[in-house]
Subunit: 308 residues, 2 copies
């Protein structure tokens, strides 16, 4: 039986764009509940400047406050050397570096071109590997706009492959290909996944989709058919992109788990437990979520016959 | 280049479950606008009893009021002999018969078991073929709960194949396999589509999906990969099922067209024109629709760089 690894990104990618600050204790409670569902990894927070993203200003308290469970990797977003030092002090399992595949998105989102990001990656990786807590930390890199840029449009496949190659040369161990604003389609996903798996067969690739245009699960299926077994997903479908107004968020974890489990592909996740955690989101964030299964119930839900 | 045929079902499957009656002139305006977008077929209404579905009590006025365009087939749902006679008097191109693949859904939705529906099909088909306007009318049959029943659960593939065989023996010319309450998953879709296409290679099969659990487009992709080229879809994602509360509606036409066109699969539909028609729905029905592309824009939408 095939099996997948799910990286839950709602605590970082979801909560960072919520208007209201979610209290630290609630974040910890959310992550602890997620840890108990069998998810392979959880992106717990971002060690970004508290001024840049005040919603995640409690990064260190969150990571040191959560329960650590064997088998559940805790990963954190790290934007720079200072962030790496703060993250390592909290004994994270993995750090996730972020850069864009396109110049304009890099400058808009990170104030760095891809080449400037790669220089920063080198400095961060040096810091991590020289740090007493950093030798065994897994270093992942997320490549935003891998399937297209909301400012400049098409991002050539060769450009993505070249940036992945440069990341790996610097010591990056895993790469997440991100459809940051939901521009990918299944045919494109199949092509790019086949290309990276052929050229870098030893590298664990993670696919990160948004449901902006309704194609999130179709893209995940296309990636899985191409051989991808690691996915980012966000509880309730939280997340989104400040440059894509009107858009829904990341691909929804429970909807992704539900689809693959229905297909007979094991995710290792207790879906009922995950749905219970998802149902706790609306009071936490103050609004409904775009997740579908949490509202409609699983496909095996049975209804009573109507009475006339 | 591959190409698809889209059967737009919003005027029937969508409007029949809206709380408010949409005025006849608005229905005619909607169908005329849809006709101009290049859709292959439009299911315009249902010749059901006005008491059973008052929202569609104007079936004859709608069908006789719309503009008929060459290349756009007008199909209508016909539940019984009387409905067939009313439909034929309006010179429809196609009639769509409906039955369930499962006993309990048939009884709940139509007050007929599948066997009783087949007997009724025989009577309707006799009437159509004996009618002066009926000799060239295409007879399609929709098979509800082909992928599972919300009351009794699994519907065996052999049962679906057997019912299709019986429909064809009676003179049905095309069959729509319907995932009435959104229970299908892509692996199941691939299996059933491959099975029907292998056993009945000459029959035009249409796949009808709901997005109840977010899998609508993934299921459509799986069906297309298996060789299916005809899809039901509903503008804005209107529709749903009275037995699946909390569920979203049918797979959304513009989202389906957008996905396939992005993949390089021609649908014959002018997507910009279709999005314009979809944007007219909320004032017509008094609420937002679940469609995504009409809110987020197409994948080729470009944004201005943010200013700091």
């Amino acid at each position: 039986m095939s099996s997948l690894q799910i990286n839950e990104v709602a605590p970082r990618d979801g909560l960072q764009i919520e208007t209201e600050f979610v209290p630290t204790a609630d974040k910890i409670g959310l992550i602890d509940a997620l840890s108990a569902t069998g998810l392979a990894r959880i992106e717990a927070t971002s060690f970004v400047s508290p001024k840049a993203i005040p919603q995640l200003r409690d990064a260190a308290e969150v990571v040191t406050g959560i329960q650590r469970r064997p088998g559940v990797g805790i990963t954190v977003l790290v934007p720079n050397v200072k962030g790496a030092e703060r993250a390592l002090a909290c004994s994270v399992d993995e750090i996730n570096l972020v850069m864009s595949a396109s110049d304009s998105h890099g400058v808009a989102n990170l104030r760095m071109t891809p080449q400037q990001s790669l220089e920063q990656f080198a400095a961060i990786i040096d810091t991590v590997r020289a740090h007493p807590q950093g030798r065994d930390v897994f270093i992942n890199a997320s490549l935003s706009t891998s399937f297209g840029c909301p400012f400049e449009g098409e991002v050539p496949e060769a450009q993505v492959l070249d940036l992945v190659e440069q990341q790996l040369t610097l010591g990056v161990q895993g790469v997440s290909l991100c459809d940051t604003t939901g521009m990918a389609n299944p045919a494109q996903v199949a092509r790019l996944c086949e290309a990276v798996l052929e050229r870098f067969p030893e590298v664990p690739f993670t696919l990160h989709f948004h449901n902006t245009r309704g194609m999130g699960l179709a893209n995940a299926m296309a990636a899985w058919q191409a051989g991808i077994v690691r996915f980012d997903a966000s509880l309730g479908g939280l997340g989104g992109c400040p440059y894509a107004p009107g858009a829904t968020g990341n691909v929804c974890t429970e909807d992704l788990v539900h689809m693959f489990e229905e297909m007979g592909v094991s995710t290792g996740v207790d879906l009922d437990a995950l749905l219970d955690v998802s149902a706790r989101l609306p009071p936490l964030i103050g609004h409904e979520t775009p997740g579908q299964v949490v509202k409609a119930g699983k496909a095996d839900r049975r209804y009573p016959m109507p009475t006339r």
